[in-house]
Symmetry: C2
DNA sequence: TTGGCTGAGTCTGTCAAGCGGACTTATCCT
DNA sequence: AGGATAAGTCCGCTTGACAGACTCAGCCAA
């Protein structure tokens, strides 16, 4: 690398997919909320008790996730109680599964617990453990070093190019 | 609760892999920093200029990521300048690629831009686009609804079971 | 040798957000 | 009427983010 600026410096980040996605997910508590929903915990008090999120913050996060289309409110009624609402994943929310699994997978590898993992994603049909793999359209399964992030059709040049 | 409480309510979240991983990654800016490194931008000023992170926050984040083993500092010297340091991904950092790709993939689907994506992960060897897929050890490729998160060997029962 | 340039920080004051704990509301049961 | 409960709302404090100015170290040119 004789000192030319990296190619990426020519491109703006203002419409970057990662930035835009992080505006939806990039909060300290959001993945904790999603985890609860993924494991089947759907009620405000249950989510709060398990995750330890301050009530006010949980209220705000749930509202934001609903507004962004990841969750929806669903009425339920316990016997002898009034109707309340629980929170469920929409398809958009469910489609975050690969992100969750990728996070779990990384954590299991780099922050392992003695005795094995506390949670395991598994295939309901066959009971085997599920992981994520990188795969290209040609069917190869490259490892990280063989993947590059390139500008796409809507990549914007940076105003103050370096 | 005759609607019996979800199974997950019996388990504690205190050692949950997602929580532990989020202590490393779960900050608003962390993925922005990682993105820069993944696209090849490695110097403090470049990262700051592209990502818009306040200097102080960037300093603090880089230090945290180094301490957690995701980055390392690497000396470099521009002609006619003194030696400085740039930041590079370690293997642990590189192994976050599936997380990044999963995030990009979700963003491309649910927060699409007119005209296509601004960044595309591709296989260096063949130039084809890379995505992540869920796969179980038996070789199936389940979709999100067919995956369940189950307690593993170090799952802890909750103190105040509900 | 002095003075300016540059990348990579540090310092400071302001302001928003997170936090724990107490309080509120609506409905049901006894 | 009184009590229980889930799901919030309210409050005051503390922490962290933020923008903008300042610092520091080494190199170069005059």
């Amino acid at each position: 690398m004789s000192e030319q600026a990296p190619e990426a410096m020519r491109w703006s980040t203002e419409n970057c997919t990662i930035s835009r996605t992080m505006q939806v997910l990039g909060d300290k508590w959001t993945f904790h909320v999603l985890r609860e929903l993924f494991v089947g915990v759907r009620r405000f008090e249950d989510i709060r008790a398990r995750s330890g999120i301050p009530r006010q913050v949980l209220t705000e996060r749930l509202a934001a996730l609903i507004e962004r289309g990841l969750l929806r409110r669903h009425p339920y009624r316990l016997p002898g109680q009034r109707e309340r609402y629980e929170y469920r994943l929409t398809q958009a929310g469910l489609d975050l599964y690969p992100v969750l699994v990728a996070i779990i997978q990384w954590g299991d590898q780099y922050l392992p617990l003695d005795g094995g993992p506390p949670i395991i994603p598994e295939h309901r049909d066959c009971g085997e453990r599920v992981s994520v793999v990188l795969r290209c359209e040609a069917g190869h399964e490259p490892d990280a070093r063989q993947v590059a992030i390139r500008p796409g059709p809507t990549a914007k040049p940076r105003a103050l190019a370096g």
